[in-house]
């Protein structure tokens, strides 16, 4: 049966068809849907881990017990998982172990643009890279076969465009599942103390040598010889961009990007007159081909930043551009993403933005509060970084300035617990706020260890943040409702004035989660134009339904309340969530509920 599937759906399907029964992951765009889709198939086990390091360690354990284990993360997740990664490369596993690294060229949803092909090389792990959904489904199966045949973990690298674009695939029947093989004791293989690791270190090099030989004959490293004046060496999605523009040129399309097939590359080079290496981000293939003494055109023609498209390849090779519609430059209002109407982060960050404190942040929807008008967050490095950074700043600044560190409930669990322990241990005076919206909101509302449910929907233990913080040694702990502005301001100020580390848990469910669970139905609000004094206090919330209307743009004139008044605020009741933050800020009492029968 032919269906249209995203790369992520295709990987999940391929794993299922291949008899994979075990998967672990931490959500992260663009990888999240892989394990969500996989978890829905019959007879599989899949879990959300608290972070990528745990996900990989769980996967190693599962594979050691003989299962085929799939571990999924976005590119920066591999940084978190790097510790076990570099050593499981030495040990190998019993069952197949495949790690998906979902890279994000152009940083559509990421804080950096690292090229994780470098991890394959550094950790000495083979890496496959599909170019569309059909290949994604095929390659995940090959990855497991390679893992078992060569006793190595295998990387499957995707990029956002592979993960989230859809193409046609053929569904196949799932293969028979293999039984887990039970425990095998083998200390010389699995206990990586120096003496044993030194032995395995040599095994790893021999394995890479065998993999290099394998790559020479690997059918997915294929030459397509056409017009031999130009030869293009490429892999993954850029292959499609190049083929789209230049269908008749010659190609060496690499399905395996590490290790590279050196003889095949030489053979290709001997068949074509001029070689271009077309790859997004780092000159990973290019430098290795140059090291073979082969002359190529690479990053001098194509950018090393950002995602490609067919136009970039066209310009890189021909120096010209497709002539589209000719239009004058026009400045348009930008449309950055924004916190949703009714988002519980808005009230908290409104308060933080007004206090003159440095707010260290991390990764979540709330990171958007760095923008106007909230401006309530002043740094974002990685998940959990806000806690350690707040402590470091506090130690340097002392009494000169107070620091608040914010992070989400899921990112606190991901990597905020250890630095919070550090704050208690090293006598910090910073205030940490957990924006506890009861879900992993930004990646699309995934469960986590504090929600009380597993990925596959089973009820389970829910982490108690207050009890945990007490156990870590934090004594000042308050739980607040961020929809109550005055109280939020009072509590944050109170904790800032205290000695010792403080934890504030700002707790209210994500607006999208509340809508999904059909809780918190509130009447939408509107502005009474006759009462609004045009003070713009409500506009300071940056809430999507609230807009400014100038007097000169109005069809029906409104009486000015003050000589200086220039217009009024308006609320689009159709998209208002009724959270009442604006009502709390309105000094004129101009914001009122829309009655249910209107």
């Amino acid at each position: 049966m032919k269906v249209l599937m995203s790369g992520n759906e295709a990987i999940a399907r391929g794993a299922y068809e291949d008899g994979v029964t075990f998967a672990s992951a931490y959500p992260g765009t663009p990888s999240t849907e892989i394990i969500e889709e996989f978890s829905k198939y019959d007879g599989v086990y899949a879990e959300w881990a608290p972070n990528e390091k745990v996900a990989l360690e769980v996967g190693i354990g599962a594979a050691l017990a003989g299962a085929r284990a799939l571990v999924v993360m976005k590119h920066v997740g591999v940084n978190v998982a790097a510790d076990p990664l570099f050593t499981v490369s030495y040990t190998g596993t019993e069952g197949g172990l495949v790690i998906i690294s979902a890279d994000d060229p152009s940083m559509h949803s990421s804080q950096n643009e690292q090229d994780n092909r470098n991890y394959a090389r550094a950790a000495k792990i083979p890496m496959l890279e599909p170019a569309d959904s059909a290949e994604a489904k095929e390659y995940i199966k090959i990855a497991f076969r390679l893992s078992e045949e060569f006793d190595t973990p295998v990387f499957l690298r995707t990029t956002t465009r592979i993960a989230h674009s859809k193409s046609v695939i053929d569904l196949e029947e799932p293969a028979a599942r293999r039984e887990a093989r039970g425990i095998r004791y083998d200390p010389s293989k699995y206990v990586m103390v120096p003496a044993k690791a030194r032995e395995r270190r040599v095994v790893v090099e021999k394995r890479m040598e065998r993999l290099r030989e394998f790559a020479e004959m690997f059918p997915q490293n294929r030459m397509e010889i056409g017009d031999t004046r130009i030869g293009i060496i490429t892999a993954g999605m850029p292959y499609n961009y190049a083929k789209d523009v230049f269908p008749s040129y010659s190609y060496l399309k690499l399905g395996m990007v590490h290790p590279l097939p050196r003889r095949l590359i030489r053979e290709f080079a001997s068949k074509v007159e001029k070689i271009y290496v077309v790859e997004e981000l780092d000159p990973f293939i290019e430098e290795q081909v140059r090291a073979l003494g082969i002359e190529v055109v690479g990053k001098e023609a194509f950018p090393c930043t950002g995602e490609f498209d067919p136009g970039i390849i066209e310009t890189g090779i021909t120096g010209t551009k497709t002539k589209g519609a000719v239009l004058p430059d026009r400045l348009l209002p930008q449309r950055p993403p924004n916190l949703c109407p009714g988002c519980p982060h808005r009230g908290l960050f409104y308060v933080l933005g007004k206090l003159k404190v440095f707010v260290t942040g991390d990764i979540g929807c709330y990171t958007l509060s760095f923008m106007k008008p909230l401006q309530g967050l002043h740094s974002c490095v990685c998940m959990g970084a806000s806690v350690g950074m707040a402590h470091g700043m506090d130690k340097v600044l002392g009494e000169q300035g107070k620091v608040v560190g914010v992070l989400g409930d899921s990112t606190f669990i991901h990597s905020g617990i250890t630095p919070l322990l550090n704050m208690a241990y090293n006598k910090s005076n910073a205030v940490i706020v957990i924006c506890d919206n009861r879900t992993t909101a930004m990646t699309g509302m995934q469960e986590h260890p504090a929600t009380g449910f597993t990925l596959q929907g089973e009820a389970t233990k829910a982490l108690d943040f207050v009890a945990l913080a007490r156990a870590l040694g934090i004594e000042n702990i308050q739980v607040i409702d961020p929809f109550a502005i005055k109280n939020t301001r009072r509590v944050i100020k109170e904790e800032l004035s205290r000695k010792g580390p403080s934890l504030v848990i700002s707790r209210a469910p994500c607006a999208l989660l509340a809508a999904k669970q059909k809780t918190g139905n509130r009447a939408p609000l509107r502005v009474d134009p006759d009462k609004c004094t045009g003070c713009k206090a409500c506009l300071g919330l940056g809430c999507p339904p609230i807009s400014w209307q100038r007097f000169e743009d109005m069809e029906i004139p409104i009486e000015k309340k003050t000589a200086k008044q220039e217009g009024i605020a308006r609320i689009d009741s159709a998209i208002c969530n009724g959270c009442t933050l604006c009502q709390q800020l309105c000094g004129a009492g101009a914001i009122e509920e829309v009655a249910a029968d209107e």
Partner: protein, 192 residues
């Protein structure tokens, strides 16, 4: 219909049903026997930011993205977003634009003004421009959320695909209780 790859670019604002509409268009093209690739970006864009989705179809499609300046049809769910993507079109490209304004934050704050000349500006550069008030039509068909189906109806009248193919796909795309309303919204967009 010509079998060489054609590109439709759907643009608008998060929450307008663009991804759903592009899924349906893709299903129609598969049903009609074409190779199809489709691409959009999720993540941050879901929070009220710009959303764009390419659907490319033909005998054989390699890239899910089209070259800038090579899009055949721009389907815009929001007026300002139309302007943002006009230069993706071929010089003789077609435009379908929904007569709907969604203010970005800077306009809400009164710092920038929403361009009020969008339609006349588009018509200055393109001859084949269809303007439709899809939200109004959807409301009169029972639910404003069907605006994306109305727009698909308009789009269907610009593509040489048998109406039966669209109907088959619509029937598979909606649960029974929403099907009648959506079929009506589609027909009104198509101008039947």
């Amino acid at each position: 219909m010509n079998r060489s790859a054609k590109s439709v670019l759907m643009v608008g604002v998060g929450g307008q049903g663009i991804i759903r509409a592009s899924d349906i268009l893709s299903a129609v093209m598969i049903e009609a026997g074409f190779d199809v690739k489709k691409s959009e970006v999720h993540g941050m864009a879901q929070r009220g930011g710009c959303v764009s989705s390419y659907v490319r179809f033909g005998e054989k499609v390699y890239s899910p993205l089209a070259r800038k300046g090579d899009v055949d049809l721009l389907v815009s769910f929001e007026k300002l977003e139309t302007l943002r993507y006009l230069d993706y079109l071929k010089p003789d490209g077609k435009v379908i634009v929904n007569d709907e304004e969604v203010y970005p934050p800077s306009v809400n704050l009164g710092e920038e003004t929403y361009p009020n000349d969008a339609i006349s500006y588009i018509k200055q550069f393109f001859t084949d421009v269809t303007v439709i008030d899809a939200t109004e039509i959807a409301l009169s068909s029972g639910d404003r959320r069907m605006a994306n189906t109305v727009i698909l109806g308009v789009l269907s009248s610009h593509l040489d695909i048998d109406k039966k193919v669209w109907e088959t796909v619509l029937e598979k795309s909606f649960p029974p209780k929403l099907l009648e309303g959506n079929k009506q919204a589609f027909a009104r967009g198509r101008g039947d």
